[in-house]
Amino acid sequence: MSQKNERILSYLLKSIKYPGKQQITSCLSRRDTSVKKYASFKHEEKDLTAFLIFSTLAILGALLTVTARNPIYSVLFLAMTFLQISGLYALLQAEFIAIVQIAVYAGAIMVLFLFVVMFLDVKEIATEKNFHPIAPVCLILALVLLGEFLVFIFYKPSREGGLSETVTAVGQIYGTAENIGRTLFSQYLLPFEVASILLLMAIVGAVVLAKR
């Protein structure tokens, strides 16, 4: 990291140390010059290559997840997809999220899925080929999601500094565990506490369901 970038980063860090809500939102929406400067710092070519590799593998994994006959294979391909997505997060300097992606999705949730697949005897599902009646609804939802993504991709708020660059810059500011802690305990305090209630409800729900 060059000295200039370091200086800008330290300035930004200072500015979000006591993040009033306004300061952060203005920093993001108004794109004040420092962010822009930092964001315009040139992307290295290898980042693009890495992005292409990770995203191709992620899409491949997702396709294999859907098409695999054996549910165990589906789960494992899904785990692979999650690993690739974690690589994408690491590219965006969102290192904490990248590791959370591995620990929670590729680790914990995949283990639960594997348990569930084994709990519902595998071979019964493996031979079933019919589409579920809910498939059209899924298709509509998928199309809506695709539309949203397209809007995101083609809508550029301003000429200079497209979406991806801003995202990278924000990641470099917020990506570490420290900064996530700071924002969590200032701007997102209420969601954080509400999350605990959600977790409590999930525990109760799991216990009630399993005891049946």
Binding site: E95, V104, L112, L184, A202
Partner: protein, 118 residues
């Protein structure tokens, strides 16, 4: 500016290559005298009665889901721990509220006997 995760990737790929290479070598170098008995599932030397996948009990499911929930809680704890000094009493109180919820969940699961492994 180099992404610090490149070494992680390289080490993972490198060890995967080493492992794969060694496995390939051993399959080339090793003897090949496969017999029917060797390829059967191990059952202490007798004919296996049942080899197919056995349905696993529901208790595994509940352990897994409790794990996910507490894992998410730990993920909230890590950023908190790194900035604990800055947050001071405020952070302490907020985290106690958060933890009390989860401890309540743990107590509930305990009382309902979900933590028994019968």
């Amino acid at each position: 500016m180099m992404n610090p995760y490149i070494p992680v990737l390289i080490l993972a790929l490198f060890s995967a290559l080493i492992a794969g290479g060694l496995l390939l070598l051993t399959s080339i170098l090793g003897p090949k005298r496969l017999t029917k008995a060797k390829l059967e599932p191990f059952e202490s030397g007798v004919q296996p009665l049942q080899t197919s996948v056995v349905r696993i009990p529901v208790k595994f499911y509940i352990v897994a889901i409790l794990f996910i929930l507490f894992d998410i809680e730990i993920i909230f704890l890590f950023p908190w721990a790194t900035v604990f000094r800055e947050l001071g009493v405020f952070g302490f109180v907020e985290m106690i509220i958060f933890l009390l919820m989860l401890v309540a969940g743990l107590v509930y699961a305990w009382k309902k006997g979900a933590l028994e492994w019968e």
